[in-house]
């Protein structure tokens, strides 16, 4: 592993809000999850947007922590104009008044988008999936499912998982044989939570936790991990860089990332212009060609090169045995489960 990639992972792990440059006046600041996601966004949205409108754009990155946004909104000193937010955080933040309620007349026709992508305070920008990724140099026969992810006899070595309850709980139940459709029903019960933690107990000594999306491809390529949960786009990008990493789509958990406008930004109109631009089918097509995340604008799908369709979380084959992340469930129970997860992980 190179020093540079290690370091970028470090910065990511720290919460890279610090890296955000000072904001000049006429410019808008767009914050995303950074790394390869941001690279694709620069190419598909940021640069063409500046070219088309003359509005300069300052890219920044963070790890999804809502605290910074809350601090800005509370102190009425909002310097972020557009942020990429995961669905559960968007719903919670919308209720708590962190985000502007969107006027879709300024963005586009709601009917053009996947229905779940349109919410009160946000518009989905891409669909991503948490999948099993493995190093094909180390494993010849791929793990068929999350159940095999648990099989340390067949696949000895460390596994990476995202540190946190979200996705980890679902994965544990999938690995324990719960059908995707029943996962949230089971998880809503006390017994279901116990069942998930019991399953996680089995794998605990073999888990190495990751926090930033850039970490799994690095750790896999370096040989520290044999397999890991990972965001599909990050793995696909690593493949393009020549790393022999592979994806298992079976049991993937997909969710949308959204654009939202922090409440009280003085540059709201420019922010709308950016979101409108980034939601256009032609631009989403460029994005999905850069990184293997699915477009939310239905009109973008026919524009895509058919060759890359199988790489996207939204392709029918990949959706077959996949689980849609239940935003409502995580809004309601997230804090409680995260706290329990912390208690469990720390022991």
């Amino acid at each position: 592993m190179t020093m540079k990639s290690r370091f970028s992972c470090l910065v990511g792990a720290l919460g890279a809000g610090m890296v955000v440059a000072a904001t000049a006046h006429a410019d808008i600041t767009v914050i995303s999850f950074g790394g390869t996601v941001q690279k694709a966004q620069v190419k598909a949205y940021y640069e063409p947007f500046t070219k088309a409108t003359g509005i300069k754009l300052i890219p920044g990155e963070y790890n999804g922590e809502q605290a910074k946004i809350k601090a800005m909104v509370d102190t009425k000193n909002v310097t972020w104009d557009v942020v990429e937010v995961e669905s559960a955080e968007l719903v919670r933040g919308c209720e708590e008044g962190l985000y502007e309620k969107l006027d879709f007349a300024k963005i586009g026709d709601k009917k053009d988008f996947i229905p779940s992508a349109v919410t009160e305070c946000g518009i989905g920008t891409f669909i991503w999936s948490t999948v099993i990724a493995y190093n094909a140099d180390k494993i010849k026969t791929p793990p068929a499912s999350w159940a095999e992810f648990w099989d340390v006899k067949k696949f000895p070595g460390k596994r990476g998982m995202r540190k946190g309850a979200k996705f980890t709980m679902e994965i544990a139940l999938l690995a324990d044989g719960v059908k995707p459709d029943d996962v949230y029903k089971v998880l809503a019960t006390k017994e279901g939570v116990e069942r998930a933690f019991k399953k996680l107990d089995q794998l605990k000594p073999n888990i190495q936790w990751w926090e930033a999306g850039a970490q799994p491809p690095q750790l896999l390529a370096a040989g520290d991990l044999v397999m890991s949960s990972a965001y599909n786009g990050r793995i696909e990008t690593a493949q393009k860089e020549g790393k022999n990493l592979k994806i298992v789509w079976n049991g993937g958990i997909y969710d949308a990332d959204n654009w939202a406008i922090p409440k009280g930004t003085p540059k709201r109109e420019d922010a709308y212009k950016f979101i409108k631009f980034a939601s256009e089918a032609a631009n989403q097509k460029v994005y999905s060609s850069e990184i293997a995340y699915g477009p939310t604008n239905l009109k973008a799908i026919p524009l895509l090169d058919p060759k890359i369709l199988p790489e996207l979380p939204t392709s029918p084959a990949n959706l077959k045995n996949a689980l849609a992340c239940n935003t409502k469930f995580w809004v309601e129970r997230g804090e409680d489960l995260e706290q329990r997860f912390n208690a469990w992980a720390a022991k």
């Binding site: 470090l10 720290l14 040989g223 022991k347």
Partner: protein, 416 residues
């Protein structure tokens, strides 16, 4: 002729001013001068340190959400026994509150706050708000229970009533692994949720170990520095201080590179045949301790050095001349003189370790996370600043308690 008496007399024509008063006046100008000199720093400390500290302590018991969002309900619940469902006025008040605040962030904050204590309350409250106003002609109580049967449960109302006060022990209790049961009594939290007592003990224990190693490794270095001629000592001192010139982040990154499975250390050990396969040195306790000791070492070396510099070398000679063998002389005569340095250096490292966050976060597994990690977790990820403040408060109190113990047993008055 001028005499002392003349000088002490008040100026002619003036009223009799006693000498003490005149002295005080003369001193007052000087005192004001001193105050003016320290005023900028005092104000700075007050603004940057004391005030945030107080607001932090306050936040750990602050509970404004429910009383701000549901004022009518809070008033209606005043004097409620808590043993049976409240009457119609309370339901009507709640309905009025919900209608007034429908869709606002105040309501969401209150929902979020109560959801911490009763899971599901968030959707219950926000769901009810969406149905407002209630259809006319029906008692609010029936209409609400019809909306969701949980409104007919005693626990729902108890948790609301518990949070009508603007201060709550909830965060502090949770941060100590206590919970409040339905009757309002304080009980131990269920075993699967307990974490913070263990974290506090772990934080203390890791700090003890780091302090121990820092002292063990720092003592000989400080001794060497104190006994070398100035030229050599200056060079060595620069080497000791060198780590201060690089950021903690860079040093942590360097340790990751050095200690990782395919890093130089593991590779070298495998090549030399010392080990068969790479040993995990990072993302577990080994890496955390190595990096923390490395980063904190100068904080023990410097106080020890300054204390050792002040110890007269003839003391050791005196002990030898009195027939005490070299090591015993060191132990009985030199070592006791270094205790103030050991105390100061140890305390410094211990207190710094207690607040360590970045190093364990980057180099450790979840098993090495200390209290600050959870403060950061609640601050950044769940925006539960009450919990963050409560954990910080407990950390602060623990640190202060240890300092008091230190001052009591090892303070300057105790060590000669």
């Amino acid at each position: 002729m001028n005499t002392v008496e003349d000088a002490m007399k008040p100026p002619a024509g003036g009223r009799e001013v006693p000498l003490k008063v005149r002295l005080r006046r003369a001193e007052r100008a000087r005192t004001l001068g001193y105050l003016a000199l320290i005023a900028p720093l005092a104000i700075f400390v007050l603004l940057i340190f004391v005030w945030p500290l107080i607001s932090l302590l306050q936040r750990s018991v602050d509970n404004p959400e429910v009383s701000a969002a549901l004022p009518r309900t809070v008033a209606a619940l005043h004097g409620w026994s808590g043993h049976e469902l409240p009457g119609e006025p309370a339901f009507a008040a709640l309905a009025a509150d919900l209608e007034a605040l429908k869709g606002t962030s105040e309501l969401a904050s209150a929902a979020k706050r109560v959801n911490m204590e009763l899971i599901g309350f968030r959707s219950l409250l926000l769901g009810a708000a969406r149905e407002m106003p209630l259809a006319a002609g029906k008692p609010a109580k029936d209409a609400m229970i019809e909306l969701d049967e949980r409104w007919g449960e005693l626990a729902t109302w108890q948790v609301l009533a518990r949070n009508r006060a603007s201060v709550t022990p909830y965060y502090l209790l949770t941060a100590l692994d206590f919970a409040i049961d339905d009757t309002g009594a304080v009980i131990n939290a269920p075993a699967e949720r307990t974490i913070y007592r263990a974290i506090l003990v772990r934080t203390l224990w890791m700090s003890v170990i780091v302090t121990f190693w820092c002292l063990l490794l720092g003592f000989p270095v400080a001794y060497l520095l104190a006994t070398q001629p100035p030229k050599v000592a200056n060079l060595l001192m620069i080497l000791v201080l060198l780590p201060f010139w690089t950021s903690v982040l860079v040093r942590v990154a360097a340790w990751i590179v050095l200690l990782q499975n395919e890093g130089p250390l593991n590779t070298a050990m495998v090549r030399l045949g010392l080990i068969d396969a790479p040993v995990q040195l990072v993302f577990n306790w080994i890496g955390v301790y190595i990096a923390m000791v490395h980063i904190l070492l100068p904080f023990t070396v410097l106080p020890l050095y300054s204390v050792m510099k002040g110890i007269s070398p003839t003391l050791m000679r005196a002990a030898l001349s009195l027939g005490c063998p070299p090591f015993a002389s060191f132990w009985k005569v030199y070592f006791p003189q270094t205790l103030p340095g050991i105390g100061a250096g140890g305390l410094l490292v211990f207190i710094l370790s207690m607040g360590y966050y970045i190093t364990p976060a980057l180099l450790g597994s979840p098993k090495e996370q200390m209290a600050s990690y959870f403060v950061a977790f609640y601050t950044n990820e769940t925006i539960n600043w009450g919990m963050a403040a409560a954990l910080s408060t407990i950390l602060l109190v623990a640190t202060l308690a240890l300092y008091v113990i230190y001052a009591r047993y090892f303070g300057p008055a105790k060590v000669r």
